[in-house]
Symmetry: C2
Subunit: 160 residues, 2 copies
DNA sequence: TCTACCTGGTTGACACGTCACTCACATAAC
DNA sequence: GTTATGTGAGTGACGTGTCAACCAGGTAGA
């Protein structure tokens, strides 16, 4: 085999960005997740599901619709719901119009959980991320997110 | 109980930043991890361990030193090494000077794995992140990373 | 020496995510 | 109606990460 042409290794500036990227997310997210667990007994996954359901009419949604909204795989959501159901914060219900379908419903416990957790969570997010950065830095983050979102939206073609 | 004072909810700009933050990292990392798996049969965790060991003298390191360098828990590293050892890319060896200690060593297979994987990985990182962003955006990321690193360095006090 | 503590490292239980597979119901083609 | 195909959802195996408990070997003080 002829040797592959030497790849374009990262410049120093690019390495800085890449290492920052790799480091900062786990760092911040671990702190926020820890807070969430200690303050409210919830994982980030729990919180995400609860907060979406908490904003829906009747605190219920078709499972596949929820998965699509959250951009989770159905499998992932199914596993998550199983764990949440065992803890009594959500409940699955069959849906009359389609024998295959099912809905998730927040239980009263679930409603209480997300209601109690939300203010503490905001505080935590502020403390570990938002309030640390300048408005310019926040805007830069949003901008980068936007660029990447478009890039991947395009890459995934019709799948969206 | 008296109701807690209304928390400072996120402004729209802050929400944009927060959602971007939450979304972009899994998005990009999933792509890069997928590439790594398909191109080289490695997970990101594998790659990280291999690339550190690949740069050390004799392709070996004390396990606790490796954990500290990577900022992994010893437990996490131990689990990871067990899996890697089963696949033959690293090997554990006892160390003579300390009856408790152990070293990890790259096997020949491991050396080959990281050597082959590195150029492909750089290409993937460029494609999914670095080459998509402008130098200004890369710099903004590095800067944000720096701010957060300091913030958490301070928060963790002497633990570093 | 005996004891107490520290340290390096492993282990087990559990939460989480992915993948591939399965199963039941729905729908369209014939 | 029967058959093929699609779709909603769950399951099992496995990789990964955390936490707490454990164990063996070192170290220091009585």
């Amino acid at each position: 085999m002829t040797p592959a042409s030497e790849p374009r290794w990262l410049t120093e500036a690019e390495q800085d960005a890449w290492y920052a990227w790799r480091r900062m997310f786990p760092l911040v997210n671990a702190e926020i997740a820890r807070d969430l667990g200690q303050d409210s007994g919830l994982s980030e996954a729990d919180y995400d599901v609860l907060s979406v359901l908490g904003q829906t009419d009747g605190h219920r949604m078709r499972i596949s619709a929820l998965a699509e909204l959250m951009r989770w795989s159905r499998s992932r959501l199914s596993h998550q719901l199983t764990r949440m159901e065992q803890r009594g914060i959500v409940r699955r219900e069959e849906v009359a119009t389609d024998g295959r379908g099912a809905e998730v419903v927040l239980t009263d416990t679930g409603v209480a959980a997300i209601t109690d957790a939300a203010p503490l969570h905001v505080k935590s997010v502020r403390r570990h991320l938002i309030d640390i950065l300048t408005p310019e830095q926040l805007q830069a983050l949003a901008e980068v997110g936007e660029v990447l979102r478009h890039r991947f939206g395009a890459a995934r073609k019709g799948r969206d």
